[in-house]
Structures are given as C-alpha cells and as structure tokens.
Symmetry: C2
Subunit: 215 residues, 2 copies
DNA sequence: GCACCGCGTTGACCCGGATCAAAGCTCGAA
DNA sequence: TTCGAGCTTTGATCCGGGTCAACGCGGTGC
C-alpha cells in the first residue's frame, strides 16, 4: 500500500484489526448474522471466496484500488441487498462495512439461494452498466443528481434520504473528488433543489428539477 | 432522437432499415444463425426481450444513450461471446452489429443454456465492474492502454490485435472523444509502444511498457 | 483518373473539474 | 466545557481533455 493510500484511508486500515467480529446473533432464515464495525473489512481482493452475503442493517461499499491508491467504489449495498458473487475462486474486489453493519452469511448451495442467485446477479449487472453511463458520459452535477435519485429510490422513494457514507465514499463512487462533490451539494442547496438537514441526510425539495438535472 | 445524434450516428440510423435480415444459416448446436450487416440493430432499448444471443463471427456493441445523444458503450462482444441477459421483460440497452456479424439466437430455456447462464452473467458483471474503475479513475492514456490489453487478451493474447470498431466506438467505450483517442494512439505510436499497420489493427511492440501505462 | 465523402488526424484554444491551500464544523474524549 | 482530529466546505489556481476548426487519407462511384 502506498503512503497516499494510507493517509487517505487510514481509518479503514486501523479497523482491519476488528474484522470478523462474530457476535453470532441468530436472525431470519436461521442463519447466523455477524456484526462488522464501521470501516471493517468483510473480504479483500484476492481472498478465496465461496460465500454470499446479505446486509441485515447498515451499509457496505464494494471497491477496487489502483496501485497508486486511486479507489473506485463499484457499488454500495444497503439493508436487504446481497453481494459477494464472483466468477472464480477468489474475490476481485474489497468489501467493507461503511457503518456498524449486520451481515448474514449465506451458503451459496442452499436451494433458496441458488434460485435467487441469477436474478440478483443480473440486477447487479444492470446497475453496474447504468453506472458506466454515469461515469463515462455525465458531468459532476448530473452524477450527483443521479446519485440522490438512486439513493432515494433504493430507500423507498422517499424525499428524505439517508447517506450512510462519507463525502469521500460518494466521490469515489461517482469518479469525482470530495471537493467537487461538496461544491455540487452546496450548489444544489443554494438553488433550493435540496436541503441538507445534517451531514448525512438530504431532503429532495424540487424532485422534477433534480430529475431534469440527472438526464 | 436529437439532431446531434442523427449527425453523429447517421450511418447507424440508415442501417436500421436492414434489421433482422434472416439468412437462416444453420450452425453448431443446430440453432439457426442470422446475419446482421454492419451497423444494423440486433435489439433496441425498451424492446421486449427473452432471447439470448451468441456471436458466431463479427462483433457487437452494447450501449445506452442519454436524451441529448451522448452514448456510452458498455461492452463489445466478439466471436464466441454471449449477450442479451436482462433482469426484466424488456431490454435496457441497444445492441448493434459493428461489422457484418453472424448471431446465433438461443432459447434461454434450453437446459445447456440455463447451466451456462449464471457463469456468463457473472463474467459480464466482473467485466462491467472493472470497466467502472477505468471510467471513474483512469486518465486517457491509461484507458487506451487498458483497452489494447483487454482486446489482446480477448483475442488469445496475441500482439497483433484487430479492432473491428471505429474510433468513435472506442471513444464511446472509454468515455473519451475521438480526438483524444486519436491523439493517444499517435502518442503511443510515436513512443514506439505500438505500431498501426492499418486503421483497424494494432501491434503491441512494448508489452511491458503498455502494461505499466495501464497502471 | 478524378472527385467525393466519411473517417481519422492534428492544431489552437477553452473550460470543468482536479489540485493545492486554508478555514469551518462536529463529535467524542478528557 | 474545552480540545483536538478528522471530515467538510470554500477559495485560488492549474491542467487534461473537450471543443472547434482545418486538413489528410482512403475507398467508391463515375
């Protein structure tokens, strides 16, 4: 790991020590759930895989790193969502808890899991391909607007949207810098399109305007 | 469709008239194959889906459009590769033949297809997620270098790489403009990293340098 | 052979977002 | 309650790649 990366993501490195903190709470489907503190690693790139994971509560980021520390978050996973599928025997990505997060580990051989696997994988594929359009062809305002709409939709379409992740996470998801993300937040706020009741929540005030901006 | 788009992709629009030109050549697995002329549409966004497609020969581009005509190609598919899986009943993307292309249409219910479906979908997912890193975090030179290496790998790892697609297709795949793609090609050529024996082929001369450039 | 036309290349200039720098918040710990 | 560290915001400047424009080249039809 480079110095750059260490300074940028130092809080995450520290928390690796806490990984796989088994609190062993039995939850739905009779599967054991595991608690991961904020910033802890769920799995690492290159690690042998084989399990699937379902978010019980909290949020997860999936990402890759370049050798110089540049990071791209390919997906966030919120409560109820599954992640961890891979083509071969090892993980191609890192997965970390964004905040205190409960994860249910599923055996991919269980019958009900196999049946769900293909639709889940296809859902992830479509979402990744749509994100390609955002990263390849949209400007900063369009990316942020699309992000708010995506998060709103995934939280039941409410106007009040919770953002479990930091500005740095959002920047690394949208292919921007924190400064640009922050500036766009301020701009949308000053235009009255959104309100920012707190650092980690957004209220969509002018939905139509936001949708027009995301185009 | 906007004026901008019409001028930019006019050759494709013209060829829509030729779509689904059934030449009905029976090929491997006993499935009928269909010939699609260069630029013709295989399916359109919003169309009802249900079939899967396998490239017999030629090449296919999968893409989305923004309302103002900006285009993002999410994938190229070469001979042997499958495409067309979707989550719901309609296509989220456009698929077009890049050059004269033979497509085998597969019924997704066939037993041997079902077995292959999940691995294929996962392969596409990983490729899309890796492309997110390219679009989100790499500069123009890194994108083009990564593209050459990807095409080389998918053509058996040879140093001589055929590019069935135009510079515009490459630009829309890499999230760049044709001018930038062209400039990077010229730069790599003048540095002796590649040779350009013809417009549509590249020879990788300094493989290690190219790999270093792709970061 | 020649003219045309679409694709590709090259040059000049511009601008959106990155980078660098400096405050301002916020929240937990003492 | 204060302090401090890390996150966030804001400002100033820079630069990579986009935009605009002109030219080159290669294939096609006459």
């Amino acid at each position: 790991m480079t110095n750059f990366e260490q300074s940028r993501y130092s809080h995450q490195l520290g928390s690796i020590l806490l990984e796989r903190n088994e609190s062993n709470t039995p939850l739905g489907s009779g599967h054991p759930a595991t608690f991961f503190p904020a910033g802890s690693e769920i799995y690492a790139q290159g690690e042998t895989c084989g399990n699937l994971y379902q978010v019980e509560f909290g949020a997860v980021r999936i990402y890759r790193l370049l050798s110089d520390g540049r990071r791209q978050i390919s997906a966030f996973h919120l409560a109820g969502e599954m992640f961890g599928f891979e083509v071969d025997k090892s993980h191609h990505f890192f997965a970390e808890a964004i905040c205190g997060t409960g994860i249910r580990v599923l055996s991919p051989s269980a019958a009900h899991v196999v049946a769900e696997l293909l639709p889940m994988a296809l859902q992830s594929l479509v979402r990744a391909q749509e994100q390609l359009l955002v990263l390849g062809r949209q400007n900063a305002v369009e990316r942020v607007a699309a992000f708010f709409l995506e998060m709103s939709e995934r939280q039941g379409g409410l106007r009040q949207v919770e953002l479990p992740m930091s500005r740095l996470d959002i920047a690394d998801y949208l292919g921007l810098t924190i400064e640009t993300v922050s500036r766009v937040f301020s701009k949308l706020k000053s235009k009255g399109v959104i309100r920012l009741p707190s650092l980690r929540s957004v209220e969509i005030v002018k939905l139509q305007t936001l949708q027009d901006m995301a185009a």
